[in-house]
C-alpha cells in the first residue's frame, strides 16, 4: 500500500500537468463577479459565480486572478468603456485560462476582458426592468405628480458622509434670496449590496411623514462612478415610481441615466444641481407673486385713473348739459316773455277793441238817443207848430200887445192907448178910441 502511495504534492502536480495538457488554451468565459478585491501590490482577486435560471442558487463558483500587470490595463479599459468599475454583482466576459496550483488550488487566470458584454448585459437587464415597470403601469407614476409651487420642505435620502450632501445643504441654507428651506436627512447607504434595501427603507420612513414634505431628494456624493446598480434595481425603482411625493435625483454621474433617473419626477446631474433647481422653483414662485403684485398695482392705478377720468368726463359732459339746459330754459323764458307780451298786447288790443266798440256802441247809442230825441223834438216841434202863434196868425188869428204885453181883456187898455196887433202879414198899430 505504502509503495503505491504518492505525496499530495506529487498528485496535485500531476493534476496540474494533466490540466495543462488537456486545457492548454484560454477561453472566453461569462460569469458574474461575486467578490472582488485588489491587494496592495495591485493584483486583483475575484470570485466568479454562475447562478441558475431563477437566480436563486449558485451552480458554479471559481476563484480568479487578474495579475497586476494585466489589471493595470484591464481596469481602466473596462471603466472607460462601461462607465463603471469592476464590482460585485455585474456580469463580465473575460478571457481566462484554467490554472491549478498545488498550494492555491484551481483558479482562472484572467488576461483580457470584453466590456461590451457587460454593457449589453446591463442594457438588457435594464430594459427588462423598465419594461416590467411599464407593464405594471407604475413607470410614469412619480413623473405625473405635481411639484408644489414652494418645494421648501425637503426629505433628503443620502449617506450622511456624502460630500454632495454638504454641498446640497450649504447651497440651500445659504441661497442668495433668503428662502427658507426645511431639510431633513433620512440616512441611507447609497452603494453596495445593502444600498437597495437601505434606500427603500429610507423611502418608507419618509412616507411616514409624507404630509410634512414637499419633495424627496435622492443624492449621492460625487466622485466615484462605480456601482449605480442599486439605482437600476427593480424594487428600488418600483418604490420610487409609487412614492406619493415627487422624487428628484442627483446621483452624480455622467454616464447613461439610471432607471431611477428615468422614473424620478426629475433627474438632475448633481446634488448641487438639485439645490439649484429647488431654489429656482421658489424663485419662479416669487416672480409670479411679484408679477401679481405689479399687476395689482397696475390694475388699481388704471382703475383709479379710469374712474377719475370718468369723473372729469362726467363733469365736462355736465357743463354743456347744464349750459344747454340753462340756455334752453332761457329761450323758453324768452319765448314765454314774448308770448306774454304779444298776448298782453293782444289782450290790450282786444280790450281796446272792446273799448272802441263800446265807444262806437256808445256813440251809436248816443246818436240813436239823439236822433230819437230829435225825432221827438221834431214831433213836438210839429205838434208845437200847430200852436205856433205865427201859424195861428196865418190862419187869420191875431194877437194884440200893449206895451209888449198880450192883451187878453179890453180892460187892459184905455182910450188913446196904442196897441200893436200882430197879424200874419204884419203888425198894425192902432189907437184905442
Amino acid at each position: 500500500m505504502d509503495n503505491r502511495a504518492i505525496s499530495l504534492c506529487e498528485l496535485l502536480t500531476q493534476v496540474k500537468t494533466a490540466m495543462k495538457n488537456s486545457l492548454p488554451y484560454s477561453w472566453w468565459v461569462i460569469a458574474e463577479i461575486s467578490e472582488i478585491k485588489v491587494n496592495f501590490s495591485g493584483h486583483c482577486y475575484l470570485e466568479l459565480i454562475e447562478k441558475n435560471e431563477s437566480a436563486e442558487s449558485i451552480k458554479a463558483k471559481v476563484r480568479a486572478t487578474i495579475w497586476s500587470s494585466v489589471f493595470r490595463m484591464v481596469q481602466p479599459y473596462f471603466q472607460t468603456s462601461t462607465g463603471m468599475e469592476l464590482t460585485a454583482g455585474i456580469k463580465i466576459m473575460v478571457k481566462a485560462s484554467p490554472e491549478f496550483h498545488e498550494l492555491y488550488g484551481f483558479s482562472l487566470n484572467i488576461t483580457d476582458i470584453e466590456p461590451s458584454y457587460t454593457l449589453g448585459e446591463m442594457a438588457r437587464q435594464r430594459q427588462e426592468i423598465i419594461n416590467r415597470l411599464k407593464t405594471e403601469g407604475v413607470f410614469d407614476m412619480n413623473r405625473s405628480l405635481t411639484l408644489c409651487e414652494i418645494p421648501s420642505r425637503i426629505a433628503v435620502i443620502s449617506s450622511k458622509t456624502a460630500a454632495g450632501l454638504a454641498d446640497f445643504m450649504h447651497q440651500l441654507t445659504n441661497n442668495p434670496y433668503g428662502y427658507r428651506f426645511f431639510i431633513r436627512l433620512f440616512p441611507a447607504i447609497m452603494q453596495g449590496d445593502e444600498a437597495e434595501q437601505s434606500v427603500i427603507h429610507a423611502l418608507e420612513k419618509v412616507y411616514g411623514y409624507e404630509e410634512y414634505f414637499d419633495v424627496v431628494v435622492l443624492i449621492r456624493g460625487g466622485g466615484s462612478q462605480s456601482d449605480l446598480s442599486c439605482f437600476n434595481s427593480y424594487w428600488l425603482n418600483y418604490n420610487i415610481c409609487q412614492f406619493p411625493l415627487p422624487v428628484l435625483t442627483g446621483i452624480g454621474h455622467e454616464q447613461d441615466e439610471t432607471i431611477a433617473d428615468l422614473v424620478a419626477w426629475k433627474r438632475l446631474k448633481t446634488p448641487t444641481a438639485v439645490a439649484e433647481f429647488l431654489i429656482s422653483c421658489l424663485r419662479e414662485t416669487e416672480d409670479s407673486i411679484n408679477e401679481r403684485s405689479m399687476n395689482l398695482i397696475n390694475l388699481v392705478t388704471v382703475k383709479v385713473r379710469d374712474e377719475s377720468d370718468r369723473l372729469v368726463r362726467t363733469i365736462m359732459a355736465l357743463k354743456p348739459a347744464v349750459k344747454e339746459r340753462l340756455s334752453c330754459h332761457a329761450s323758453i323764458l324768452r319765448v314765454k316773455g314774448l308770448n306774454l307780451k304779444s298776448s298782453a298786447s293782444k289782450l290790450i288790443i282786444h280790450e281796446s277793441g272792446n273799448h272802441s266798440a263800446r265807444r262806437v256802441q256808445l256813440a251809436t247809442a248816443v246818436r240813436e238817443f239823439l236822433s230819437k230825441r230829435s225825432h221827438q223834438i221834431e214831433l213836438l216841434e210839429k205838434r208845437n207848430s200847430y200852436l205856433d202863434p205865427f201859424l195861428i196868425l196865418k190862419r187869420g188869428y191875431s194877437v194884440t200887445y200893449h206895451n209888449g204885453k198880450v192883451l187878453k181883456s179890453p180892460s187892459m187898455v184905455k182910450p188913446e192907448d196904442v196897441i200893436d196887433t200882430r197879424l200874419a202879414g204884419g203888425i198894425i198899430k192902432s189907437k184905442i178910441v
Binding site: 426645511f182 411623514y209 401679481r292
Partner: protein
C-alpha cells in the same frame, strides 16, 4: 387668522380672482379698496411662505429628532 390656513395655491387662486374682477371692471370703486387690501394681504401671505417657518414643520422636525434619540 383664517387666512393663515390657506395654502399657497388657494391664496394665489384668490388673488387671481381679485385681479380678474378688477380687470374686467366687475368691482366698483366702493369695493376696490377692500379687495385690494385683501389681495395685498394674500400676496404677503404667499411671500411669507417663501421666507418663513411654520410652527407645524418645526414641531414635526422636533418629533423626528426625539424619535431618533430614542
Amino acid at each position: 387668522m383664517e387666512e393663515k390656513t390657506l395654502s399657497y395655491s388657494e391664496a394665489i387662486a384668490a388673488i387671481d380672482e381679485i385681479l380678474e374682477q378688477i380687470e374686467t371692471g366687475e368691482l366698483d370703486v366702493d369695493e376696490l379698496a377692500a379687495r385690494v387690501k385683501q389681495a395685498t394681504e394674500l400676496l404677503k401671505l404667499c411671500k411669507s411662505k417663501l421666507f418663513n417657518t411654520t410652527k407645524e414643520i418645526d414641531k414635526v422636525l422636533k418629533d423626528m429628532e426625539s424619535e431618533k434619540d430614542e
